[in-house]
């Protein structure tokens, strides 16, 4: 099964239903198929062979979905580029992915000059031929923060994404009358639900204007006016909605289900949200990008205790789970697991057949047989749902001549998740503001440390390694 077959089927059987909305624009499934066909033609005319990787230099939205589906229909693999991240980082990604072309709108930005630019504005609608691909073919490479100092590409096949989207469709009983709010950037695996589960059911995707995340009462008004029936997002967005979303006066009667993933949802905030939305089903999805969703829990409102974190639940998408005896690490095997890591223009299949993927997360099973999450075994942080490797920030900091030494840790806050904080040893007359400016040329905003300490030297353990615990304590006592 490949990811576009179901969507192509909807284009034929459901042509006049609305497929995608963004602000004042909307297209139906017939128009969608012509846009997909146009992108296929664009790639064919450029002589791009099936199996190539294609960079997407576009923000989430209606046009981007058309391009992404066109790339898949042409038998290629899409590589989302975070347009808000620094040029240097995007350049690293297109180079590492070995893209055959980058698709965007208008003039080619300088950072993609050597990568074959294709302008989506130049296409005209074109009939779509039915595409035939192997399920094992790569559908996308999602770059995430890497512990070796550079972004790391997680390669996902059609089969893996289809296994998730098909499972999720069944779970929430997705229908062609559903309208799904989409807020997630494409480089997040959450976006695969919005695009593939929705469109292959004949449902409608409606793009949430980004600025509404800063004005929760406007977000709830938007969800109500647009008669949104399903929403998959991160707990920090939902928590803000629970606290300040004016939900008392904005009943979201059409909202059938809410899915959340990416970080732990504080139980107190979840309870508040559920009180406002008694008829909505809530699901906690768990899984690193490497496995997509491998564990899920249907929220049972009556069982929620404010001081107790909610469980991550039961195996999802036909995956098998196992807990490593010594460490308590969660191991996963099954259909949604990645094909491997992509680096230096090649796929590195890190798992042999029948091997377990080690998540790096510590879990246990409670008395009800539900898996519960306890934290990371390594240093990875989750910052507003974004995955952040402190080692990548340290690597960039150490590459600056002003920085003699550094250590990056996570500080927790009451809302959700963590924020990176840095302890640094600096050359004389260096300011943190100058450092932050330099960092912002290399790292996305969510990876820039929000708190800093300048130290004469880093505290060390007896074995000479950095004492991260002491560094964490410096930030706690400073509050």
């Amino acid at each position: 099964m490949n990811l576009v077959t179901g969507i192509e089927h909807q284009c034929i059987t459901n042509p006049f239903a609305i497929a995608i909305r963004e602000n004042q624009r909307a297209i139906n499934y017939q128009q969608l198929s012509l846009k997909i066909g146009a992108v296929v033609q664009l790639l064919q005319r450029a002589g791009i062979p099936s199996g190539s990787r294609i960079g997407l230099a576009m923000d989430r939205g209606l046009d981007t979905v058309c391009v992404l589906l066109g790339v898949l229909s042409a038998g290629c693999c899409y590589v989302p580029l975070d347009i808000k991240s620094p040029a240097k980082r995007r350049q690293f990604i297109v180079n590492d992915a070995g893209v055959a072309a980058v698709i965007g709108c208008g003039e080619c930005p300088h950072e993609y000059q050597n990568f074959g630019w294709l302008d989506y504005n130049s296409v005209s609608d074109h009939e779509l031929d039915v595409s035939i691909h192997q399920a094992d073919q790569l559908a996308t490479i999602l770059y995430t923060s890497g512990s070796t100092g550079s972004p790391k590409g997680v390669a996902l096949s059609h089969r893996a994404i289809h296994a998730f989207s098909h499972w999720a469709q069944q779970l929430v009983n997705l229908r062609n009358t559903d309208c799904i709010a989409s807020l997630t950037p494409l480089f997040f695996d959450l976006s695969t639900f919005d695009i593939f589960a929705s469109l292959s059911t004949g449902a409608c995707i409606d793009f949430v204007p980004a600025q509404l995340t800063m004005a929760p009462s406007q977000l709830s008004a938007w969800l109500s006016q647009h008669r949104i029936s399903g929403f998959y997002t991160v707990p920090s967005v939902l928590g803000f909605l629970a606290l300040k979303g004016n939900l008392e006066k904005t009943p979201l009667q059409d909202l059938r289900f809410v899915l959340f993933a990416g970080e732990v949802f504080p139980t107190r905030l979840l309870k508040t949200l559920i009180n406002y939305l008694p008829n909505t089903e809530f699901y906690n999805f768990y899984g690193p990008t490497e496995t997509n969703v491998c564990v899920y829990w249907r929220v049972e409102p009556d069982t929620l205790l404010e001081q107790t974190p909610i469980p991550i639940g039961h195996p999802a998408c036909g995956n098998q789970l196992k807990i490593a005896e010594n460490t308590g690490e969660l191991l996963v095997k099954g259909p949604t697991v990645m094909s491997g890591y992509w680096s230096k223009k090649t796929l590195h299949a890190v798992l042999a057949d029948q091997q377990w993927y080690a998540t790096g997360d510590q879990v246990s099973i409670n008395e009800k047989g539900e898996y519960c999450y306890h934290g990371r075994l390594d240093r990875m942080l989750k910052c507003s749902g974004y995955r952040v490797e402190p080692a990548e920030i340290e690597h960039v900091l150490l590459s600056l001549p002003e920085v003699t030494n550094c250590a990056v840790i996570g500080v927790s806050d009451e809302t959700a998740g963590q924020r990176p904080a840095a302890a640094v040893v600096l050359q004389p007359e260096t300011t943190i503001q100058a450092l932050r400016r330099k960092l912002s040329q290399q790292l996305p905003h969510y990876m820039i440390p929000s708190r800093w300490k300048i130290l004469p030297a880093l505290p060390l353990l007896k074995n000479g390694k950095t004492d991260y615990l002491s560094i964490s304590n410096l930030f706690v006592t400073a509050k």
Partner: protein
């Protein structure tokens, strides 16, 4: 009760970094300085707790929190 000092202290150490707190102007744009939606949420929780106010849901928007002065004005309005 002075709310500007504790508010500045919280915003400029927890949400927006600057080397010298005294150098950050009361009209500087906090969103441009790096405060995001999570930052706004933490700020509101802080303000409601510390200053014993309830900030109306419908007024939570970027313009209410854009600068220290905007914040002080907004909170003062609901402290009466």
């Amino acid at each position: 009760m002075d709310i500007k000092t504790p508010l500045r202290q919280f915003v400029l150490t927890e949400l927006v970094y600057c080397d010298d707190i005294n150098n950050f102007g009361d009209t500087e744009d906090l969103l441009e300085a790096g405060m995001d939606s999570m930052g706004i949420m933490r700020l509101i929780m802080f303000a409601e707790r510390e200053f014993k106010v309830t900030l109306p849901d419908t007024e939570v928007e970027p313009d209410s929190v854009r600068s220290i002065n905007a914040l002080v004005g907004w909170i003062e309005e609901h402290k009466k």
